[in-house]
Amino acid sequence: MTHLLHLIIEPGFFGNAPVRSALVAGGLVAVVSGIVGSFAVLRGQSYAGHALADISVAGGSASFLAGVSPLWGFAGVGVLAAGVMDMIGVQRPRGRDLATGIVRGAGLGLGALFLYFDTTHTSTTGATITILFGSLFTISSSLIPVIALFSVLALGTVLVLYRPLLLSSAAAELAAARGISVRLIGAACLIAIALTVSLSALTIGAILSTALLIGPAATGLRLTSRPGLAMVWAALIGLAATWLGVLLAYDSYYWPPGRHGWPVSFFVVTLILVFYLLSPRPVRRVPG
């Protein structure tokens, strides 16, 4: 029994400090991304979520250059980009992806420029890789309280606005008729998404940030038609994928080609896809 357990969970898994940080920070980010991501998917803003994660990379590289903590660069630029997107019409269904793409292109261009300055002035070529792909195992435990703070902020925004946000996402006209400022609510939601993805892009890399925002949320929304329950599912699926991914990455140290583990983002992303494919296709109920 212990042998089998050791086969699945390598000895020393829970005693390892980077693993513990990865489990705590990754879990936190997964839960927040699952819940906030449900709104992103409901509102058809998957692309905006992905773009914001990439753009916050620009902020990350700028902060490397300015010498401030990357956290402020990521979050600041993410929120700024969300504001620009909101201004040029990401909330309207028509031309939405186009506006998102333009902001993303300009943001990434700036990111490329900052990265170029970073690499020429400080010769930290590794910064490109760290910023783009990130790693759960390189989170310092001192970052966890800040991650928690930002998580509470993003989560608090969507939970406080839960009802009006849900109504304006599902039926904008009805929400407007009830006196809800759809525009303002939409902007608040976009900023919450920006906070979430910039945080997760910083801690787990831009790839995983998008994966955790969209994948579990889309799976949750396929599992149930009740939005609240779907969000719980999304959080659980994100959590399961992250923790299992960390476990597999830890185990993979002994897999070929050897000498170093497989990237944790690969495992998490694959697990998220598997969950999505396993979820049943939503049955469209015929009214009456």
């Binding site: 998917v41 058809g44 998957s46 692309y47 979520g49 992905h50 773009a51 990439d54 040029i88 028509r94 031309g95 939405r96 992806d97 186009l98 998102t100 793409g101 333009i102 902001v103 993303r104 292109g105 300009a106 943001g107 990434l108 261009g109 700036l110 490329a112 420029l113 990265l115 170029y116 690499t119 070529t125 590794g126 490109t128 890789i129 783009l132 792909f133 790839i207 995983l208 998008t210 994966a211 969209i214 994948g215 889309a218 396929r222 080609p257 170093h260 497989w262 990237p263 983002s265 690969f266 998490v268 992303v269 694959t270 998220i272 896809l273 999505y276 296709r281």
Partner: protein
């Protein structure tokens, strides 16, 4: 700037701009910005795999971008389109991270794949880029009418026997091919800036399909030429210039459309609906 070693750069970049202008017109028309963004980014995986296995990078890019396009089309049939795109993108990037961790590729190599390395184009790259680019443009022109019809009026297209799902697949494949050839030049992250900025501006200026497409090619050429010249002068990454100039194109288009609609209101014309897809649809002879 126009010396011998830059000659191939100018040629390849011009081919890239023409292809991006032609295909970008349909990207904007179909509202497929996310897909146009995801396919190149995912194709990056192919480059990583090719460098790991020792294959030609172009081959790796072509295989990966085709796989990405087919994956999006397959997943998109069983769920929401944007979710399918996002999932395929992250899975491809996850695979890319895996391949990268196996290989000992030097970081600047990856940086140039992501952000472009226009100044290092060799003369041997002209032929494959030219052939692939020509293929994409010819395919788009042959399918111009059905593609236009299914982008603007899917129901009417279906009624005329143009299957939307098939057109979608064809479009994705052409997009994937175009991607794999443009990627080494403009970089994975910024090809799509070229594919959406200039065409968006062109569509704001005219609502007739062919002139809009020609204008989009012209705008893409100007953006690319300016970007290369600026990158050559400053030594800054060309991606920065392409991204910014793409945004400038978009802004100019928006301002143009706004000014024109205000003028037409002042002239008390019947509201034509602006240069949107409705106006474009009105110009398509069916």
């Amino acid at each position: 700037m126009f010396s011998g070693f830059m000659a191939s750069t100018w040629e390849v970049a011009s081919i890239v701009a023409v292809v991006a202008g032609v295909i970008g017109f349909f990207v904007v028309l179909r509202g497929a910005a996310f897909v146009a963004d995801a396919v190149p980014q995912g194709a990056f995986t192919g480059a990583a795999a090719a460098s790991l296995l020792g294959f030609n990078t172009l081959l790796g890019l072509a295989v990966a971008s085709l796989a990405g396009a087919l994956g999006i089309s397959w997943l998109g049939r069983r769920g929401r389109r944007d979710v399918a795109t996002a999932l395929v993108l992250v899975v491809m990037l996850g695979l890319g991270a895996l391949f990268l961790s196996f290989s000992s590729e030097y970081a600047p190599e990856i940086y140039s794949l992501l952000f472009g390395e226009v100044l290092g184009v060799s003369a041997t790259e002209i032929a494959p880029v030219g052939i692939l680019g020509g293929l994409c443009v010819v395919a788009t022109l042959i399918l111009f009418r059905p593609l236009l019809l299914s982008s603007l009026m899917p129901e009417l297209a279906e009624a005329r026997g143009v299957r939307s799902s098939r057109m979608e697949l064809v479009f994705l494949i052409v997009l994937a091919l175009a991607t794999s050839m443009t990627l080494p030049v403009t970089g994975a992250l910024l090809i799509f800036s070229l594919m959406i900025g200039p065409p968006a501006a062109a569509r704001s200026v005219t609502s007739r399909p062919l002139p809009a497409m020609l204008l989009s090619v012209l705008a893409a050429l100007i953006v690319v030429w300016l970007s290369i010249a600026a990158a050559y002068q400053t030594n800054w990454p060309v991606g920065f210039f392409v991204g910014s100039l793409g945004a400038v194109c978009y802004a100019v288009g928006r301002i143009w459309a706004a000014v024109r609609s205000r003028r037409s209101v002042r002239a008390a014309e019947p509201t034509a609906g602006g240069p949107g897809s409705d106006a474009l649809a009105a110009n398509v002879r069916v």
